[in-house]
């Protein structure tokens, strides 16, 4: 007695479930991302902080003759460090995307080898693409973190430089 093959490949049902779960997780993540995105609040907070800081220690663009050369060269050196670090981060991100694409292409080719039915081909395709989507999501998340780091660094450098270039007030 032989058992009949199931109408739908069990692996196909499984991978569809995984895709559904992945989509659900993405929707939740998007909702969290939107909750964290508060542009008006952020602008007001920055404005308030900058005004407070300016009140305590007024920043003005320094006049040419009074610029402290050592402060200026220090600021310049720090800027170069930031730019180098930012460049490295961007290169790392491109490298990650490139690795992900390459790995996935190989995975896709391997998965489609030895496939004996259209359903198995579909399973292989969906599995490879799910891995790709997950990996790209991680890459994007990491790049967003890097960009946030870079933006925060330039902002901090700007404040630090303005403060360091202020002429010393007589006691």
């Amino acid at each position: 007695m032989t058992t009949a093959a199931p109408l739908i490949e069990p692996k196909l049902i499984n991978i569809l479930k995984q895709w559904r779960c992945f989509s659900h997780q993405n929707a939740e993540n998007l909702q969290l991302f939107c909750s964290a995105f508060t542009p008006v609040h952020d602008s007001l907070q920055i404005t308030q902080q900058v005004l407070k800081q300016w009140h305590d220690k007024p920043w003005t663009l320094p006049e040419q003759p009074s610029v402290d050369s050592s402060a200026l060269s220090n600021a310049y050196r720090e800027l170069i460090d930031i730019q180098q670090a930012a460049l490295e981060k961007e290169q790392e991100a491109y490298f990650r995307y490139w690795t992900t694409a390459l790995t996935n292409s190989k995975q896709m080719i391997n998965a489609l080898q030895g496939v004996s039915s259209p359903q198995q081909a579909l399973v292989a395709y969906l599995e490879a693409n799910l891995d790709l989507a997950r990996q790209y999501q991680e890459d994007v998340s990491e790049q967003l973190t890097d960009l946030n780091q870079i933006k925060a660094a330039y902002t901090a450098w700007w404040q630090k430089t303005l403060e360091s270039l202020q002429p010393e007030k007589p006691q």
Binding site: S35, H41, L44, K52, I82, Q149, A152
Partner: protein, 386 residues
Amino acid sequence: MLFGYSTIASRDGLISRKTMNYDTQGTSQATHSITARLLTLSLVLISPYLYAQPNPLPAYGADLNQSSVSGLSSGAFMTSQLYVAFSELMVGAGVIAGGPYLCAKSWAGNTLLTNATTTCMNPLTASVGPNTPELVKQAQKLSESGAIAPLSNLANDRVYIFSGTEDKTVTTTVVDQTYAFFKSVGIPDSSIRYDKSVNAGHAIVVTDTTTACPLTQPPFINDCDFEQSNRILSHIYPELKPATTQNPESLIAFDQSEFLTSNYTSMSKTGYAYIPKNCQAGQKSCSVHIVFHGCQQGAEVIGDQYYAKTGYNELAEANDLIVLYPQITPSNTIPFNPQGCWDFWGYSSPGNIDPDYYTRSAPQLSAVYKMLQRLATPAQTNTVPE
């Protein structure tokens, strides 16, 4: 569990009396009686889960003048906040992978959240890390205004600081500034133990767990062949006796909610405390050590792994030290705290562009202070301190 059990007992009593009434109405209602008994039995069995409510935190007449605090990651930031704001009570602190006090206020051009997640965790370069000179100035102003205790209280204290060489979450660049901050506010170098030589990931270190030392993964409790709780407590209390066995009955759950004055603290309903036998008896006025877990480490996320298995309780039992474990719960809406972190950027004051999360009246800090006051209240008295 006295409070919870009494509630459960009264509900069960009510159901039992109703069942007896069924029984007096003759045999024709026997079926109803059996059904009612089954209903009663099932309610008795599930009632602890339905109605379980943690007890109020008991009073033990603790001695708050020898208090100390420690924590990991967001718990380490919280440690600095509690330690500096209530320094009149403190004799020391243990900061594991945490930045300096007020760190999120480092750079005015960034939001508090941006500073918290970049400057205070993994800055692009060391020059744009925590702005310690500015933070010291701000702390001095707060101290002068009375919003926090005088910074001069810190001079005689002992502080332990730790940063793992494999920690990419809160890097050594940031933790270096914690060390610089404490030195700037007057803690002598000889009183600070700064350990940055271990190849640990972002975690609290213990001797017996499955996570290898260099990893950074949940539950963020790593095996690096030493007990970090021991190093922290033995640095703060140099006369510390060796650990002994913890007594399971000494670990209590308590109701945190009675100490909260805001709906946005993200603090769990239940907190935990370890009360050594000698401190329970009321014969001794014990000191208190507060332990703050890190993000994704609250009891609702990792169970008892932090409050029962990080080695604090064994030391507490041997040294008559009460250990308080306040708890945070993740929140995806308002307040926005999806990772269940302690507040070091202002989420507990949603909508406020200048949130207070660092002074004595901050929502989370004031709640923990009230817990301390309760522990210090003479035994047999259970009122919420004003």
